[in-house]
């Protein structure tokens, strides 16, 4: 059993935006070392939920706790030393080289030594396969390469948080949206290793049901019209619940390569 004092817990979290309810009352608990996949159709409130958990979006009601500490959105500094966030797309006003962008991930930790940061820097560059690109200007990269650079920056921050605080929370918003197949696999292997080390909890928004089935331990299935579903991956990915949420018929069968996993085919 893992240490529950590290749980990310949501208690009746509710968010209204312009009088519209974007997140219905939601309670869940994310255990350390697990990967929580957040699924749902467009407009189901996935990104809003991520923003609420990271402190960007004020709650209308309810409470969010990082371990024993309540979330205080005003204290940006200690939040940056608790959780790291990868947004969907980041545009740069002025061009910076890749290595400098990645190092920005260490900004919340001025107490760390350059040698320590250099170690993590090399590790994350290797992880996201950016070896030949570190001196390139960011704006000269393709969309997928830019996303990997941002992921490397967030990964560096995650390492620093886990090292200094003992535990890190990592939030990813569609991290594989513009990645090719090989880099999708690499990214998930990286975060799975982090999760297995028991010092990082991961919240990841996904659209691809098969990626969710392959990599996530627990799933949260959001829907604009129905109550959210939360549970073990195999319990959530059922024909009935998917049809209810997406309005699409799915075929679910054992995966031909990995029989203990599911292969989901949409009939669209």
């Amino acid at each position: 059993m893992s240490d529950s004092s590290r749980n990310l817990s949501l208690q009746d979290v509710t968010v209204f935006r312009d009088r519209r309810c974007v997140i219905p009352p939601l309670s869940l608990s994310m255990t350390p070392g697990s990967i929580l996949g957040v699924l749902g159709p467009n407009g189901a409130g996935k990104t809003s939920l991520l923003a609420a958990c990271t402190g960007e979006l004020p709650l209308s009601a309810g409470e969010i706790r990082y371990g024993v500490r309540g979330l205080n959105p005003k204290d940006a500094r200690s939040l940056a030393r608790t959780r790291a966030v990868l947004p969907q797309q980041s545009q740069l006003t002025f061009n910076l080289p890749v290595d400098q962008i990645i190092q920005i991930g260490a900004y919340p930790f001025p107490e760390l030594s350059p040698a320590q940061i250099k170690l993590w820097f090399e590790r994350v560059v290797e992880c996201v396969d950016l070896d030949g690109l570190v001196h390139k200007p960011y704006n000269a990269l393709s969309g997928g390469e830019q996303q990997r650079v941002q992921f490397a920056r967030v990964l560096l921050q995650t390492h620093a948080i886990a090292h200094t605080q003992g535990h890190a929370y990592l939030f990813l918003d569609e991290p594989t949206a513009s990645l090719d197949l090989r880099h999708q696999g690499r990214l998930f292997k990286t975060i799975q290793q982090l999760a297995k080390s028991q010092v990082v909890s991961i919240f990841v928004i996904l659209h691809d049901l098969n990626l969710a089935s392959r990599w996530c331990d627990t799933l949260l299935l959001l829907s604009p019209d129905h109550a959210p579903l939360f549970g073990k991956t195999a319990d959530i990915l059922t024909k009935e619940s998917l049809r209810k949420v997406y309005g699409v018929d799915m075929q679910i069968q054992p995966h031909p390569f990995r029989p203990d996993e599911l292969l989901i085919l949409a009939d669209v």
């Binding site: 500094r77 545009q91 006003t93 910076l96 400098q100 919340p108 250099k118």
Partner: protein, 341 residues
């Protein structure tokens, strides 16, 4: 705020940035010496060297050097450094390469504040400086919020045009109602000039400006984080609302009194950070000091140019920077519109 101990382990390709700063500092030193010696009244290099080594200068040269040229050159250095760095900070904060004290309306707001202080209270450096700060602060916040309503870069410029028109219109109304003594005080605002430099004013402007410059130099991490976006800066521990207040206030505190003394000197804050970024890259650790030094060089040389082209009479430095900076601005707009296509 943070000790600057890390982030230096990777050498950027090309010119190493510290040697770029060293080169700029040397150029500034040469420009200062040149500006001290040269003008309508020439001081011979041999006399300067002799004076530095301890021999006497003749009375006229001494007077020109110490009481006319030295304060003027120092004011140029401070003004250039403040405007160059203010441009760099505003461009990062507004996430817009065209943000600059003049174009955004900060200078107009500060001028209006200063003019109000002269007409309402009769002057006094402290009051004029304070009013200039408040005017600049109000104008910059207005530009920020109006500019944010439009997602495109031009939104900020349109807001700046409106603020500039209101500022200059209101100043015109006040100037019509000013008496003769006040009018004399007011004339130099329209020109933008370093001619009013004297030691009494510099005695407070110098430490004030250098303290603000020194503080801004420590803020390079925040500004780098802002390059990624406001949301990303928040994720990295910098609260956007507090950042906005902090930097707009700091910039208004630095630029307001400068405008109160020199009037509107345009385009320095636009041109200088842009050239610095082309040369040294966009890392604020280097952009901030380099913009300060390069701004100081630019104004020292622009003032010198203004003093010699139609000597013995003078071209106000504001005209020089407009004549040089205007075409650069047009080039930047053309380049920007090509990039959007």
């Amino acid at each position: 705020m943070h000790p600057s101990n890390n982030h230096i382990f990777i050498k950027s390709p090309g010119l190493a940035t510290p040697s770029g700063l060293l080169l700029l500092s040397s150029v500034l030193l040469v420009a200062i010496v040149w500006a001290l010696m040269s003008g309508a009244f020439q001081i011979r290099p041999m006399d300067m060297v002799g004076w530095v080594l301890g021999s006497q200068l003749d009375e006229v040269s001494r007077n020109v050097l110490l009481n006319i040229r030295a304060p003027r050159v120092l004011l140029g250095v401070i003004t250039g450094a403040v405007l160059g760095m203010a441009g760099a900070v505003m461009q990062a904060l507004f996430r817009n390469p065209l943000a600059e004290p003049g174009l955004v309306g900060l200078s107009a707001g500060a001028s209006l504040g200063a003019v109000l202080a002269i007409v309402l209270t009769g002057g006094g450096l402290l009051l004029i400086g304070g009013f200039a700060f408040l005017g600049g602060l109000a104008a910059t916040f207005l530009a920020y919020f109006l500019g944010k309503r439009s997602s495109h870069q031009s939104g900020l410029l349109l807001a700046g045009i409106a603020i500039n028109s209101i500022g200059f219109g209101a100043m015109g109304v006040i100037i019509i109602h000013a008496n003769d003594a006040q009018l004399r005080d007011l004339t130099f605002w329209n020109m933008g000039s370093l001619a009013s430099a004297d030691w009494a004013m510099l005695a407070w402007l110098t430490p004030w400006s250098f303290a603000l410059i020194a503080f801004l130099l420590t803020q390079w991490r925040v500004l780098n984080a802002l390059l990624l976006g406001e949301r990303e800066a928040y994720h990295l521990g910098f609260h956007p609302v507090r950042l906005r207040w902090r930097f707009i206030t700091l910039v208004a505190l630095a630029v307001g009194p400068i405008v109160a003394v020199t009037g509107g000197i345009g385009f320095v804050g636009l041109v200088i950070p842009h050239l610095v970024r082309l040369w040294l890259g966009a890392d604020h650790r280097w952009v901030l000091p380099a913009s300060g030094i390069a701004g100081a060089i630019a104004l020292t040389l622009a003032d010198w140019l203004g003093r010699i082209v139609i000597a013995p009479s003078e071209l106000p430095i504001g005209l020089v920077t407009c004549l040089l900076g205007g075409p650069f601005f047009i080039w930047l707009l053309l380049k920007g519109s090509r990039a959007h296509e």
